[in-house]
């Protein structure tokens, strides 16, 4: 159990002893604990996180969806660039580079979506991040946390609206941020950044009209991943003069 800093040590032990086998993974990164749960234990494990002594997470601070499609993809090869020069003409990679007509086919990769919850205990002053991957990536579903924390209500509506994650047992799962009658789930990585339709007021028809977006998709700075050694150790460059 030495994988945890002293600050998180006792909390990590509490979680391990309370949830036992339901803990899929418990890791610490940048001083923050992340607990991974499987969908079938999602609600009952969260219930215990709220109620058990030593955990007492009385607040759900945040809930959001994540789409892991294209995680770790870069658009520009940099490792060989010094010898060969940069490649040119990148397209159809990031959501900023395609339009609605040429959007890529949605991929059914395992663990594509995840729901991430940030919990806070005001009594014990501790935080925890809980993550869960809905099983089916074509139709991601997860049980609703509404009965555990009331604040999950709108956050789950938001995750449904933006990512299309369906929360079973949510009584009022409507779209929340997008327009009435919106099509698609805009924060998925296969949804174009420029969007799908443009809205404007038509003087002749005296009403608001929807038209296909006409702007060209473009990204000014390519996505680049550099595997530097500079962050691996301690702070390598001094922070003062």
């Amino acid at each position: 159990m030495s994988a945890f800093s002293s600050r998180n040590q006792s909390l990590a032990e509490h979680i391990q002893s309370t949830l036992g086998e339901r803990v899929e993974r418990l890791t610490e990164h940048r001083g923050q604990l992340t607990l991974e749960l499987s969908p079938k234990h999602w609600v009952d494990a969260c219930q215990e996180l709220r109620d058990q002594d030593g955990l007492e997470f009385d607040q759900l601070v945040d809930l959001c969806g994540v789409d892991y499609l294209g995680y770790g993809d870069d658009e520009w090869e940099t490792a060989e660039a010094t010898g060969s020069g940069f490649s040119r003409g990148v397209d159809h990679l990031g959501p900023g580079r395609f339009d609605w007509a040429s959007r890529p086919e949605a991929e059914n990769i395992p663990n594509r979506f995840s729901v991430v919850v940030h919990l806070l205990s005001t009594d014990l002053n501790q935080r925890l991040r809980v993550r869960c991957h809905p099983e089916d990536s074509d139709f991601p579903t997860l049980s609703s946390l509404l009965d555990v924390w009331s604040s999950a209500n709108w956050y789950e509506r938001e995750a449904f609206d933006l990512f299309g994650i369906v929360f079973e047992g949510h009584p009022d799962l409507r779209r929340i941020l997008t327009d009435y009658g919106f099509i698609g789930h805009p924060f998925r990585k296969d949804f174009p950044l420029i969007g799908n339709v443009t809205v404007r007021y038509d003087e002749e028809r005296q009403r608001v009209v929807y038209e296909p977006t006409e702007i060209e998709p473009r990204v000014l700075v390519p996505r680049v991943i550099r595997h530097d050694s500079r962050y691996l150790g301690e702070t390598t460059e001094s922070t003062t003069d």
Binding site: T122, N153, V224, T240
Partner: protein, 417 residues
């Protein structure tokens, strides 16, 4: 006789008391609200998605536009998340400047809130009073960043530049008489810190002035006392933070409980309400303004005594100065790479939260090692507060809904993101 009892009322999105673009569908029984269904998203700009397509630093400006009355606090959360992932820490002076400007921002926000809330409930004068002070603080924003509101002042690794030596003065114009100019420039003879010091010393009297208008005002009390009562248990369940949670009697403040910047080193108190109604939340915010001025004074004293760098000397994250760039090839390369490609943030995820004037403003960031974030999620306090509107408004009169919108301190920039 027909049996139609409930009546559906459409409140907003163009109603002046809706504080922006709130569309509230109210199911009424006479004048009593049976159900309130807020429709939000009319200001949705997909800030989080836009941030995914840009290098890290280019999204700082978007943060100002989230909660557009507490600009720098939003930047603070975003910048803290990046710093956490990079594993860097801003120099002391930068952290004190952030502490100072967080508190200036809090005062700006609460002034806006008290003015607008007063106006909604029929107190016209206060709006003018509050904007008089707001204008002065906006000048401070402008002096330090060049922009009155959307500052983009905080950067990963520090702040954009040090505080100015000279507070800019007001010039005479068609709209400003010489006598006004003289009065306005009275405090502006010295540096920006001198000006702020004068302002903060004077500000306690100004807060007293606001209180003479409202605190014992019969109409103000009739509109606020006993309205929108939330128990501490419900407040936690509903995800309340900030003054909304403290108004219900929970002494929770991130500046004390999970200190960031230099809040560990300053002395201040957390005001807490008793009844959890609109009036208590009003009192909490009023007292917070005084405490903010106290913190600001301590920050000013420290900043006067301790000059130093305001940005990390790490050219992989922060650009070198213009001077260095012109002499040093290495510095020029760093500058070029930073402004074309940006910096790559090591793979991982982090959540950083600050005590914004409205509550906990958090930034959850996932990086896959690229020069752009893989996913950013912004936790806006107003989103959780507004989701409780239905519960708070049930059984209240229609006119109380206006008081509730006011007490929640709704700003649509952050709710719709």
């Amino acid at each position: 006789m027909s049996e139609i009892r409930n009546y559906t009322l459409n409140f907003g999105p163009q109603h002046p008391a809706a504080h922006g673009v709130l569309r509230l569908i109210l199911e009424m029984d006479g004048e009593v609200v049976q159900r309130a269904d807020p429709h939000v998203g009319l200001l949705h700009r997909a800030t989080e998605k836009l941030a995914e397509s840009k290098p890290y630093n280019q999204s700082i400006g978007y943060m100002d536009r989230l909660d557009y009355v507490s600009m720098m606090c939003n930047e603070h959360a975003y910048v803290l998340a990046i710093e956490k992932l990079l594993g860097i820490e801003a120099p002391d002076r930068a952290q004190w400047i952030r502490t100072l400007f967080d508190e200036i921002t809090r005062i700006l926000n609460h002034l806006m809130w008290i003015g607008a809330n007063g106006l909604d409930l029929g107190a016209m004068t206060l709006f003018l009073y509050a904007f008089r002070e707001r204008e002065q603080l906006m000048d401070v924003y402008e002096a330090v960043s060049g922009a009155r509101m959307h500052a983009t002042y905080y950067r990963p690794g520090g702040v954009y530049r040090d505080l100015p030596e000279q507070m800019p003065k007001v010039a005479e114009s068609r709209f400003r008489k010489a006598s006004d100019v003289q009065r306005l420039n009275e405090w502006r003879e010295g540096s920006m810190l001198d000006f702020l010091d004068q302002f903060m010393t004077d500000f306690f009297d100004r807060v007293d002035e606001y209180e003479t208008l409202l605190t014992d005002n019969r109409i103000w009390k009739q509109r606020n006392v006993g309205i929108g009562v939330v128990s501490p248990e419900r407040a936690k369940q509903l995800g309340f933070t900030g003054p909304m949670l403290r108004g219900s009697g929970v002494a929770w403040d991130l500046r004390k409980k999970q200190p960031y910047a230099k809040y560990r080193e300053v002395d201040f108190d957390i005001p807490v309400g008793v009844h959890g109604d609109c009036y208590d939340r009003y009192l909490v915010r009023i007292e917070e303004m005084r405490q903010s001025a106290r913190i600001a004074q301590q920050a000013i004293a420290w900043l006067r005594a301790n000059p130093g760098p305001v940005m990390v000397k790490n050219f992989k994250v922060a650009p070198p100065s213009r001077g260095e760039m012109k002499d040093d090839m290495e510095a020029l390369i760093h500058h070029f790479k930073l402004f074309t490609e940006g910096y790559c943030v090591p793979e991982g995820e982090a959540y950083a939260a600050v005590e914004a004037p409205k509550g906990e403003f958090g930034c959850y960031m996932i990086s896959d090692g690229a020069n752009k974030p893989f996913r950013v999620h912004l936790r806006a306090p107003g989103f959780a507060h507004l989701s409780a509107m239905d519960e708070m408004a049930r059984g209240h009169m229609l006119s109380d809904v206006v008081a509730l919108i006011g007490t929640q301190d709704i700003v649509f920039g952050e709710i719709d993101r």
